[in-house]
Amino acid sequence: MIEVLQTGPLNTVQDLGRFGFRNAGVTSSGAMDRLALSVGNLLVGNDEGEAALEVQTFPFRLRFGRDMTVAITGADCGARLDGRPLPPWWAIAVSAGQVLELDTPRRSARAYLSFAGGIDVAPVMGSRSTSLRGGFGGLDGRFLAANDRLDIGGAGTFALPPHGFGAKPPEAALSEHFPASDDGTLLVRAIPAGEHALFGAEEERFWTQTWKISSQSDRTGYRLSGEPIRLASPVELRSHGVVPGVVQMPPSGEPIVQMSDANTAGGYPKIAGVIEVDLWRLGQARIGSRIRFVQSSVAEARSAERAVEAYLEDIHHTVPMLAQALAAMARR
């Protein structure tokens, strides 16, 4: 069991998402940074898709109700265990009564806390992710509040070195597969979508200008502000399914990128779709920060996907090897 001592709003239980119900209007939900969630789970010996805590409002403090193993991934929040600093992207064994604290990260937006055994909330429609819009899944379909208690599945522990161990953060490990700009603008790769051609000459400005992530952005979508891009004459599309990453152009001319809690259907013209392998980076982009879209291709996306798969596979293999080596040392 873990006990939430202090939390801001909007911190939720998330796994990799709820699939198979978009045809009933049910959004997939799931972690905004799925890569951080996967790594956190692998570090504590879980399957990639176990439920974890997504923390996006700080400070956040929790107390461990028993001995367990925990990993902290995603945004670097200066994590402290009973006041002692922990490195980012780190897994460690903790004891009953210890307190973990996370502070507002200086960059990136969301941290993930994964526990050996996973958070044991009841799956709804095949997933433990919280659907805030639908009010189900996770912890009673709502965000965490102080004094909430959450059960951890299984034994809750996984053998680790005494001071724990970590993974190389994907930004460092995969830097050559994710383009970076000189000025700190996040480069987000995207592929032209259905109504791209309708924007004519306006379309170039979509790719060349730097967009700011507005304060009206959340897990459902990011609203971008910048010089508007408009269609010569507005079109009304028949409602169609959409997925996270779709870049829609409402009449205001300022793009909306649908994120993890994306609507399942839309009717706005689609100018582009963010490649799936870049969504975790967008999920870590903060309100007020700047992004630029870079035209990409399926081939480039596949190449980045392979690198991510290899990175996860490496962690997946290394973690049990470390655990085995540890067990062998303990037997000596």
Partner: protein
């Protein structure tokens, strides 16, 4: 409680042959393909979309198929190595796709037309040149078919709105439209299932619960269902 992954559609009641027009196929990102039927928003096009959904859903590389309004979103488990080949397979399947009619149930939805929640009824009258009584009558006299679910849990897109009361979506959405609001959006109508921002035009309120996450299936409506609006009260 455990759930089987929901099948997009119920069992076909009848199957007939198709025409030869080409659909538009486009992508959203790397692993979602949108197939849009050519021609009008009619049940013929919709039935062919349903047929395509039926044909594609069992393919092993498919994660989800999401029928929309005369269109189908096909979501893959992984980015395809050969996107052109995959698109060609979709086109081939469309060419062979026949028309299926679904065995739907009939759902009656009691509605209070007008009143404090029908905030856009006056603008529908202005736009259509009809009186509020006529707008309401044309709406409840319609025979509707659920063509797709989406946008919010259990929300059904309905076909069958009288062209005289087609009304474009609003440029500025209502920020907090009540769950259960009966709305018109373009040539479509529906009942909102969540309280929140909504760009469709409000003409009444219904209190029938449309979605329960603990039920199997969770949504009251399914593609192919027939819907009738029953005017419980008219406050004009």
């Amino acid at each position: 409680m455990t759930y089987a992954q929901s099948k997009a559609l119920s069992t076909p009641a009848s199957i007939s042959t198709a025409s030869a027009e080409q659909p538009k196929i486009s992508v959203i990102g790397t692993s979602a393909y949108l197939i849009e039927a050519p021609g009008a928003f009619d049940l013929l096009a919709q039935r062919r979309i349903w047929a395509l959904a039926h044909a594609v859903e069992p393919w092993p590389e498919i994660r989800e198929v999401v029928p929309g309004v005369t269109n189908l979103l096909v979501i893959l488990k992984q980015t395809p190595e050969e996107p052109a080949q995959f698109e060609a397979r979709l086109r081939h399947e469309w060419d062979g796709a026949r028309s299926i009619d679904l065995t739907g149930k009939t759902v009656e939805i009691p509605v209070t037309y007008g009143g404090e929640h029908a905030t856009d009824l006056a603008s529908v009258c202005d736009y259509t040149g009809l009186t509020d009584r006529e707008v309401v009558r044309l709406h409840w006299q319609g025979n509707y078919t659920v063509v797709a679910l989406g946008s919010a849990p259990g929300f059904g897109y309905l076909h069958g709105l009288d062209p005289r009361i087609h009304m474009p979506r609003k440029t500025v959405p209502s920020l907090r439209m009540l769950k259960g609001t009966v709305t018109i959006g373009g040539m479509q109508t529906g009942v909102s299932v969540l309280t929140g921002p909504n760009g469709w035009n409000s003409i009444g309120l219904a209190e029938l619960p449309m979605f329960d996450p603990m039920k199997d299936p969770p949504a009251l409506l399914a593609p192919g269902d027939k819907v009738r609006f029953v005017p419980e009260r008219i406050e004009l």
